[in-house]
Amino acid sequence: MIGIETIFLEFRGLQRDELDRWITHQWVKPEGAPGAYRFHDIDIARIRLILELRDTMEVPEPALPTVLSLLDQLYEMRRRMKQLNAAMEQALPADMRAVLLRHLGG
């Protein structure tokens, strides 16, 4: 985990009031209290995602909550699918997996 100063070193051009706003809106969820934030790797990647959405893909900031919400739902679904996949791989005998594949048209 890293502190907020390192974040500004990592993202030149990111303004403190921008990041504070994103944290307030919970677009970024660092650990700790204001003034002592600790950022995980995923928080850093998320800041990069927000910057890329806004600056490179020209998603206007008012539209960001909708885009982030849709992305979060998509990733949640993909995590669930991976869990289900892992569970089936561990728990289902080979013949059951073959039956499932047939039903899925695979």
Partner: protein
């Protein structure tokens, strides 16, 4: 850590090329080693300012630096991992969409797959015992009678040594504890359940603890009696055939059936004699032509088909 080249040159990030050149010249004049002989600090500053200028005066390098692709020394930075690489791991739970006021109804796993999990038992996170795995092992007749250890090759190429106990019967299921699917979250592994199928034997048949055998004997052995050798599950044994034996005569060899197991005493081997005439020669034919047995009976008399 190297310093921000913009700060080193004292120019804003959006400084023009001309601004940068001017700032550099000004600093270079001030810190040039030849103008500051013996001043180590000035020499260091000059080197850093020169490096900053080299970076910012090259439009391509400056653009890559601004984009974060290279660092102050011009070295390539590893491309950052994408958000997706984190979001699809457990770390992604931090940004799990939790529904609520935002308008989208958050669905949990069970809702999503409700038909599959409608009879799900227990929590998703607690330790759970692994599932049992079912196998079929085909055993030789004598292995099932006397017991044996046989190797079972699993679909994944692993092998299981299966101890077939004496007296195993068709359809019996052996349980190998802990050899099924691994447990989840520290739960115990399931068991391997092995259903035994027994192949028929060439001449033995089985009835519980007893074993039956049709044993061919010759005409002289049947008529005159004598010692013969009889196969049993545990190996050949000697047996006496009484004179005047016939096809269908039953002999009982106690203790020669299925060995004692699981509280059951050893069974018997029932031997049913079957007279075989074998090769007939002229002497036998001659003897039978002249043979007029006293009190001979029609063996088919009670079948309503007397000759």
């Amino acid at each position: 850590m190297a310093e921000d080249p913009y700060k080193l040159l004292g120019v804003p990030k959006d400084a023009s090329a001309e601004d940068i050149r001017k700032a550099y010249r000004k600093l270079a004049k001030k810190h040039h080693p030849d103008l500051n002989p013996g001043n180590k600090a000035a020499e260091e500053t000059f080197k850093r300012v020169s490096a900053a200028n080299e970076l910012l005066s090259d439009p391509e390098k400056r653009a890559r630096y601004d984009a974060g692709e290279i660092d102050e020394t011009g070295a390539e930075k590893a491309p950052p991992r994408s958000y997706r690489q984190y979001a699809e791991t457990g770390a992604g739970e931090r940004y799990a969409y939790n529904g609520g006021d935002a308008g989208f109804a958050g669905e949990n796993f069970e809702d999503l797959f409700s038909t599959i999990f409608s009879n799900r038992q227990g929590g998703a996170t607690g330790p759970a015992r692994g599932r049992d795995e079912h196998y079929v092992l085909t055993a030789e007749f004598l292995d099932a009678v006397t017991g044996a250890t046989r190797r079972l090759t699993l679909p994944d190429g692993q092998t299981l040594d299966v101890k077939i106990p004496p007296g195993t019967e068709e359809g019996n299921v052996l349980r190998l504890r802990g050899r099924g699917h691994p447990g989840r979250n520290g739960g115990p592994a399931g068991d391997a359940l092995i259903e035994i199928h027994i192949l028929p034997h060439r001449f033995f048949t089985r009835d519980g603890q007893d074993i039956h055998l049709d044993l061919p004997i010759t005409v002289p052995e049947a008529v005159l009696g004598g010692k013969i050798t009889v196969p049993t599950p545990a190996g050949p044994v000697a047996m006496t055939v009484k004179p005047h034996s016939d096809t269908g005569t039953k002999l009982r060899l106690p203790g020669r059936g299925v060995p004692a197991h699981g509280g059951l005493p050893a069974g018997a081997l029932y031997v049913t004699l079957r007279v075989v005439i074998g090769t007939v020669d002229a002497a036998l034919e001659d003897f039978l032509r002249g043979w007029k047995p006293a009190g001979a009976k029609d063996p088919r008399a009670d079948m309503g088909a007397s000759s």
